[in-house]
Amino acid sequence: MNRSDIPERVHPRLPGGFHLPPFGIHQFLALMIVCVSLWALGALWLGMQAAGQWVGGWQQDLRIHVYLPAKRAGAAEDLRQALEQVPNVASVRKITAGEAARWMESWLGDVGLSHRELVGRLPLTFELALAEDEEGFLFSDIRDAAERFGGMINDEEVSLARVNHWLSGLGMLAWFASLVLALAMSLIISNTLRMTLLARADEIHLMRLMGAKEWFVRMPFILEGALIGGAAGLLGWLLLWPLVWGAGDWLALLQVDLNAWLLFLPLVAGGGMVGMVGALIATASVASADSPV
């Protein structure tokens, strides 16, 4: 449009097609509500990321160690067989004294203990790899087998394995919560757009009377839904940073380094998607009198 034809401070806003409807208080409120929901979702997934790193930081692969005092070395073969027979133990590997001593030496660092000195002090060690579908009594069975031969299980590893197991369950819950919140956000946006649609019912009716195609009538509202969702996602993502910075020092102690950038695309694109779905729900049944049927 030639601006010289248009007076100062006049901004023509033609309806339909790719032109957005005006932004009002209802849209702003919807944006805020969706932003808070997306922020909560982002915080939840940041928490999952932190928990995953904390567990994974101690033990990347899920392995349990069973120790047998050196004075009971004669029972080592029997213990190995007993451990192999525990259901859901995938494999049992005996760690040689030298390997254990080298690992201990590197872990302790520069404390003046030598490899040879350590070999004599360390117990016999078995490393157990677990099957993925662990059962509830797995760790008790391993403990029972170890204690039968005077050995012991590494309880800290068991605790971490249990935390890991709970985290898997929590991950499912987080996905479920994400889906429920996504649906709720879609409905909030849908409700907001429904109000806009009602306010613009005359305009929609007129456009249809003039032969407008359905995409032309609905597109502004779909764009608006996507924009509200996307903007809420962006705002929610920005508001995650104070959380990351605030908890950064404390998390560093736990060897956790949060990466909020990983949530940028899911929150912005997911927000846009949620908004678009809400808009599609809102515009699915926009009936006007005199619609061609």
Binding site: M1, G17, D202, M207, L209, M210, A212, D290, P292
Partner: protein, 238 residues
């Protein structure tokens, strides 16, 4: 040319000249009310047609059928060579793009400027925005409102609002303008001015079909009169 060929040519020409053809059209609403019954008539292109009759006679229903707002329950209705009982949604949309509609309450969008209101039919047809202003300015000049391009409808008088509605109806150069009591809310003098515009559009070749109660207009601005009573044709067209 043989006699048969001559007759066929005459028939084809007659079809080309007929804008609306109705044969035994009946309209029954889902509520069970029969709005129109046994309507048979032709409306040639370029005519100025008045639909008259008491309230509830079926004038508005007839107009709605002409733009596909309702479909005939039985009979045959052809508008601009479109079978209105069989036409799909896209065909109806296409038909509406060649139809201007004026309402008694003008149905202007009060949150939008005169320009935005008048540009709406062209916007719907995908006109590029840079082409809109000259065209809208031209039609507003025609109805004497060129200086109101950027005003909002609430700043206009009733007569001016109805002239904006006329401008909106004519802006896409439709083949037919359907006017549902466009002068119903106006005083006599303003009604005559609005009627003058419609007559002038008709002289330029646009078919105008206008429902009205105002029998005085029929004398001052003569045209073909189709009279309805309780959903059936009465008078000369019956």
């Amino acid at each position: 040319m043989t006699a048969g060929a001559g007759a066929a040519t005459v028939c084809t020409m007659a079809n080309e000249q007929t804008l609306i053809r109705m044969q035994q059209v009946m309209l029954r609403y889902p509520t069970g009310k029969t709005a129109l019954s046994g309507i048979t008539l032709d409306i040639p292109r370029g005519q100025f047609v008045y639909l008259v009759g008491e309230s509830g006679a079926g004038k508005s229903s007839l107009l709605r059928m002409f733009y596909g707002g309702v479909r005939p329950s039985s009979g045959k209705l052809s508008v601009q060579d479109t079978d209105m009982r069989e036409a799909g949604e896209s065909r109806i949309r296409e038909l509406r793009r060649h139809t201007g509609i004026i309402f008694q309450d003008h149905r202007l969008l009060f949150s939008r400027t005169v320009f935005e209101n008048v540009a709406l039919p062209l916007r719907v047809q995908g006109w590029k925005t840079e082409r809109l202003i000259p065209r809208v300015r031209k039609v507003l000049e025609y109805v004497g409102l060129e200086d109101r391009l950027w005003s909002y409808p609430e700043a206009l008088s009733g007569g001016e609002q109805q002239r904006v509605a006329i401008a909106r109806a004519m802006t896409a150069k439709p083949a037919v303008i359907l006017a549902d009591e466009p002068t119903g809310n106006l005083d006599i003098e303003t009604a005559r001015r609005v009627q003058d515009y419609l007559m002038d559009l008709n002289r330029q070749g646009t078919t105008v079909i206008m429902a009205t109660h105002d029998l005085q207009l029929l004398e001052s601005h003569p045209g073909r009169v189709i009279q309805l009573h309780a959903g059936v044709l009465v008078g000369g067209d019956a």
